[in-house]
């Protein structure tokens, strides 16, 4: 056991040397390290998908250790994440892969975990201050989301027409930033024919969003597309348009889950929408955490490695959080009739 660890370290050091020469670390599989995948909470499809991706990487790398998928209940998310982070440090886990839902409240327990020798790799949602975090695996460059949504509106409207936004809540930080970034993008000449007529909020509840979508159609008879940057809103809007037989006039787009949107894309109610692939995110996060927990990656800026089927990635400074590090998975996947069915499996 100790011997294999030593050999692992030697191999890692040797590889580090060669890595410096080629600037690309190929991760060596088969090293034993226990790791925890910690979602915001349980019972959400996308986190299960991330787990599938991580399990795939776990098998691929032949790690004889254990990959655990444990999470709190939704109503106990913050305290539960802190508890699991603390317990993982007590257990001596090699790494915790965290989709953070506790803001900076997780930082002290994450720092304590690091002190105990556990690597903390965040994915999906980072620790805002970067304290207690080794690296953040970012699904997309959030700055690019505005252009992606503007492009989908452009394509659906055929260049000109009216668009309304149906968002989550008025104080949802992610959504507000994305809408602002889309409004910026819309200033470009390419989008001069698109008029943004209104922004409404469905509180990320299916029924509220459904009714708001119908109210938008009543209020703006010439509306061409409802853009919803939330998975709840986009599904509810598409269902509302379908139920009322409005899909010929008003299309729905935004950020959605293939599994939830597939029928609306195939029947033309939501011809295009975007998201990142959570399986890929879990897969890349696992490679990153495995590399760090086995000592093959040091987590320094500029370090590059190969993440299996997904190719090469580099650790860089996070532009949104100065002083923190990230690995950018990007770009968005835009789903349409051609690829949505495969992704919905």
């Amino acid at each position: 056991m100790k011997m294999t660890k030593l050999m692992g370290t030697a191999a890692a050091l040797a590889m580090l040397g060669s890595g410096l020469a080629q600037a690309q670390t190929a991760l060596e599989g088969g090293q034993e390290v226990d790791m925890v995948l910690l979602p915001k909470f349980l019972g959400i499809l996308v986190f299960d998908q991330a787990n599938e991706g991580a399990q795939e990487a776990h098998a691929e790398l032949g790690n004889p250790g254990e990959l655990l998928f444990v999470g709190p209940t939704p109503e106990n998310s913050v305290a539960g994440q802190i508890e699991i982070m603390t317990t993982s440090a007590t257990q001596g886990q090699g790494a915790v892969m965290l989709s953070n839902n506790a803001g900076d409240q997780i930082a002290p327990s994450a720092k304590a975990a690091q002190d105990a020798g556990t690597k903390v790799v965040t994915w999906d949602s980072p620790i805002p201050s970067g304290e207690g975090e080794d690296v953040f695996v970012a699904q997309v460059d959030f700055g690019s989301i505005g252009t992606v949504m503007a492009d989908m509106a452009h394509s659906i409207l055929g260049g000109s027409g009216q668009m309304a936004v149906l968002s989550a809540t008025p104080d949802a930080a992610n959504q507000n930033a994305w809408i602002a970034s889309m409004q910026d993008a819309l200033k470009g000449d390419k989008y001069s024919g698109i008029e943004l007529v209104d922004i409404v909020y469905g509180d990320d509840q299916a029924e509220v969003s459904y009714n708001r979508a119908l109210a938008l159609v009543d209020k703006y008879p010439d509306l061409g597309v409802i853009m919803s940057p939330t998975t709840v809103g986009i599904q509810a809007s598409a269902k509302a348009m379908q139920d009322e037989g409005l899909c010929d006039q008003v299309k729905v787009s935004g950020l959605g889950l293939p599994a939830e949107m597939v029928s609306y894309t195939m029947n033309g109610c939501a011809p295009e929408f975007a998201l990142w692939d959570f399986r890929d995110l879990g897969y890349l996060t696992y490679y990153t955490a495995y590399g760090m927990a086995t000592g093959q990656l040091t987590g320094e800026l500029g370090e590059s490695f190969t993440a299996g089927r997904m190719g090469d990635y580099t650790i860089e400074e996070d532009p949104g959080r100065p002083g923190s590090k990230r690995i950018l998975m990007g770009p968005f996947t835009v789903y349409n009739k051609d690829n949505v069915e495969a992704a919905a499996q």
Partner: protein, 328 residues
Amino acid sequence: MTRLSSFATGLRSWEGFLFAALLVILAVNAALTPEFLTVANQINLFQLSIEKVIVALVMTFIIINAEIDLSVGAMMGLSACAFGWMFQNGVDARLACLVCLGIGIAGGALNGYFIAAMALPSLVVTLATLIGFRGLARVLVEDRGITDFPDWFDALGQAPMLGPLPFALIAFGVLFVFLYVLLQKTGFGRRTYVIGTNRDVADFAGIDSRRHKFILFVASGLISAFAGLLYAARVGAVRGDVALGFELDIITIVLLGGVSIFGGKGSLTGTLLSILIVLNLRNGMALMNITGHIQTGVIGLLLIGSVLAPRLRLPRFNRAAKPKEVSP
């Protein structure tokens, strides 16, 4: 004949049953998880829920008094958020702590006024203040996080103070001893039981039950605000949803400890045993990597059992839960 005439009688009491259950849980945890008995884990086990268990002590008084305080979690959140807001606006952190304790007293007095002076049901009053306090907390800091508190403040919640013991754990110990003596050995404690058993009788006996209830709710507000500050120190950051829903965990612990929701029955020994059971059970399940939903389910089953058991074996289980004397 004394209550503790034999070990067997003791075991048949609710506290005896809890004690036996605790021993089983400790044994299983120690046998199945090598990390369980380490000092660090034992400290963590308390630290992770320390704010809840501190408030559970004062909640024991409230429920024995045949009242309920649903606003404790919201008051913890309000106190933590008020601290964060003041700190962000340049108020000295020490002064901010004092102001937060003042907010706790004021909030408790508000509850106490409506419940004691206006004779409104505490369920309704504290449900309303739960919403009010939480709303205020969210208005103060919204969903942004406030962090970077002074080092001494963070250290209060995170660093060991006496040997391996952090400040919050010491505070819990001191508070427990003080409240135990108060409830079990003083006239104040006896009046808490008498009013909870039958308020009319207490009033006829000349006990000022309105004043008593007012004091209890002020104490509940104060301790909740204190616990909120401890939480802010432990996690080193606050957000509008701090301590959201904690009241249910707190009330669960108290009821599991054998305190009757109808008042008049229960003890701090029971609450302490219940605290130890819940924390050790959660810790053991976490170390065994049992996931959140199942943990909640097990605690829920335990609570159902604790409500059912006294009904199934009423005379025996209630014996020890009664106070020794019921005269003021």
